[in-house]
């Protein structure tokens, strides 16, 4: 990995310094991430919650929390599956345009034939929402799209609607707002990553294709896309892992309720509900384990593509 170190003439071993330098990282990771991770899994096998002022448990209950997680409620819906579905729908609605638009922009920006001017300006603008506090961005959308907000004022003033639209009352509009925010927050980031990927492709490939008389579309589908594939896959997988964690935007937009009818409740919002006043560590633990398994599975892809760089 990296460059090979030269054999030392002095014969002094510096190995212990390696351990000393990485020790703070591993101690911290052990205390604040690994131990909590194990405690989380452990908790998922216990009944442990607060009911008003009364503390119930912890009592060992085996897999009862997991069974409860996948048992239909009185309306016949399985909460966990519903929220997983919501998260997936919201992710797809935001990520598909995000990746398509980013791919398009990355090709535009790197095309020497198009020779786009003002690239720095466009990049600065489209990346900006990525750094904005998601909670504040979501609150901003809430005020802009509220029944008395500016968007409704515009719609009413132009006679597009007769009475103000309750954007938070409709499943489709809530979902569009959430995915629009996610799209705006992430497409600039993806564009920059894919641009770097295209710039990393051997320029001779493009020149050769051009000499062979390929047009722009052919170059894109036969050269750029196949050679970009590893990075594109990496981008999609990391976006999925990010999507799995979707919380701030829908939480603030819907005030944690996932309105309407929990159609915008994501898995982490569900987890957060159990961590709130009820402190139901058993159920929260079970949800976390499910989330962990999904994200660990996705992480394997990332791990493989990263370690390929370091395989010697």
């Amino acid at each position: 990995m990296g460059r090979k170190l030269k054999p030392r003439k002095t014969g002094v071993s510096y190995a212990k310094w390696g351990y000393i330098f990485i020790l703070p990282f591993f101690i911290t990771y052990f205390i604040f991430t690994l131990t909590p991770q194990i405690m989380t899994v452990y908790n998922s096998f216990f009944e442990n919650y607060r009911n008003g002022l009364k503390q119930v448990g912890p009592n060992f209950v085996g897999l009862k929390n997991y069974v409860a997680l996948f048992t239909p409620d009185k309306n016949g819906t399985v909460g966990m599956l519903k929220y997983f579905g919501n998260t997936l729908v919201l992710w797809v609605m935001g990520a598909v345009p995000q990746i398509v638009v980013a791919l398009l922009l990355a090709v535009f920006f790197t095309s020497y034939r198009l020779n786009i001017k003002g690239q720095q300006f466009f990049k600065t603008v489209i990346y900006m929402p990525n750094l904005i506090m998601a909670a504040a961005f979501s609150m901003l959308f809430f005020t802009l799209f509220s029944t008395v907000g500016p968007v409704n004022q515009i719609l009413l003033a132009h006679g597009i609607v007769e009475k103000s639209v309750n954007f938070l009352g409709l499943k489709i509009s809530v979902r569009i707002l959430i995915s629009l925010m996610n799209f705006l927050m992430w497409f600039g980031n993806t564009t920059i990553l894919l641009m770097a990927g295209i710039q990393g492709i051997d320029q001779n490939m493009f020149e050769a294709a051009e000499i062979d008389g390929a047009n722009s579309l052919q170059v894109f589908f036969r050269v750029t896309l196949p050679l970009l594939m590893p990075i594109l896959v990496y981008t999609v997988i990391t976006a999925m892992i990010g999507g799995l964690q979707m919380f701030d935007v829908p939480q603030v937009l819907t005030n944690g309720k996932g309105v309407p009818d929990r159609a915008s409740m994501t898995m982490v919002m569900y987890l957060n509900n159990y961590l709130g006043t009820s402190k139901n560590f058993g159920m929260a633990g079970a949800i976390s384990v499910v989330l962990f398994i999904i994200s660990a599975g996705l992480s394997m892809f990332v791990y493989n593509s990263l370690s390929r760089q370091y395989r010697k």
Binding site: W17, P24, T35, Q37, L131, I241, F247, D248, L306
Partner: protein, 287 residues
């Protein structure tokens, strides 16, 4: 024949440029519009906001600022101070220790070197939410709710920042430099602090910005651990604004709160956008 083809090609290129610039301008407007509305609305009074929509700023900015700044229930200056303190400490710890860890793995040869490196890469993408249950219990056990220690200290172990630093070291640090320092009798820690850290300045600066921003924006864990008013951070206050009885609010003040929440990051971004954007790509997969 040749000329006709050339003209045709030129016309096609012009059409392509028009389409591309239209798309770019549309996306730029889409990105900026909500923030433009935010700034405009922050300059208008509640009555002006109720009266209807306008693209022109009004003169109520400082009144809104004073109202928001001195609000009794949402102490935004305190929240900003708290957020700033946490974000600054996290940024310093995360960059220093990530650089230290990266240096340790990059420069020294030891038995567990490869294992340590692969471990960090393997856990890099695991989201922090999945260990939140145990983390909260740990915090309760040590009576550290309403305390910033659990929000700051964990940033010592930041796999993504480590990975970035490792890649940076690979591209900039010649081993001869470390060897030369040793010959001069410099201790290992001194070599790191006085020779390696200065070399890593650009990487440290970029990562400090990114970790500051992500800490400033962090909502999930802090919201579960901080419930004392004077300890709350900005994102918690923004969410509080959302759950308050909305109809009674002075909307000019609400917009001002949102503006204050994003302003520090916005200002830093406008000043340093070039190097921030450069920093986005480094540290990710190279294909």
């Amino acid at each position: 024949m040749k000329n006709a083809e050339n003209t045709k090609g030129k016309i096609l290129m012009i059409i392509a440029r028009v389409v591309v610039y239209t798309i770019l301008i549309f996306l730029a407007v889409l990105c900026l519009f909500s923030f433009y509305m935010l700034i405009i609305n922050a300059t208008r009074s509640n009555a002006q906001l109720q009266a209807g929509f306008t693209l022109m700023p009004k003169n109520n900015f400082f009144v809104n600022l004073k109202n928001a700044w001195t609000d009794a229930s949402i102490n935004i200056p305190r929240g900003m101070l708290n957020s700033f303190f946490i974000a600054m400490c996290s940024a310093v710890l995360t960059t220093y220790f990530s650089a230290l860890t990266a240096y340790g793995i990059h420069v020294y040869n030891f038995k567990l070197k490869r294992a340590a490196f692969l471990f960090i890469m393997a856990v890099m993408m695991i989201p922090p939410q999945v260990s939140a249950v145990g983390f909260i219990q740990l915090v309760y056990k040590f009576h550290l709710t309403n305390n910033y220690i659990p929000l700051i200290i964990p940033s010592i172990a930041a796999p993504v920042v480590f990975f970035y630093m490792k890649q940076y070291l690979e591209s900039v640090l010649p081993m001869e430099m470390v060897e030369a320092a040793r010959v001069d009798g410099s201790g290992e820690f001194r070599t790191f602090n006085t020779i390696v850290l200065p070399i890593m300045k650009p990487a440290i600066a970029v990562q400090m910005i990114f970790s500051f921003v992500s800490s400033w924006n962090n909502y999930f864990i802090p919201a579960l651990l901080l419930d004392k008013a004077e300890m709350k951070t900005v994102p918690i206050m923004i969410a509080q604004l959302r759950s308050a009885d909305y109809s009674k609010f002075d909307m000019g003040k609400v917009y001002m709160f949102i503006l204050l929440a994003i302003l520090p990051v916005l200002v830093v971004y406008i000043i340093l956008s070039k190097s921030i954007i450069k920093g986005v790509t480094a540290g990710s997969v190279k294909g």
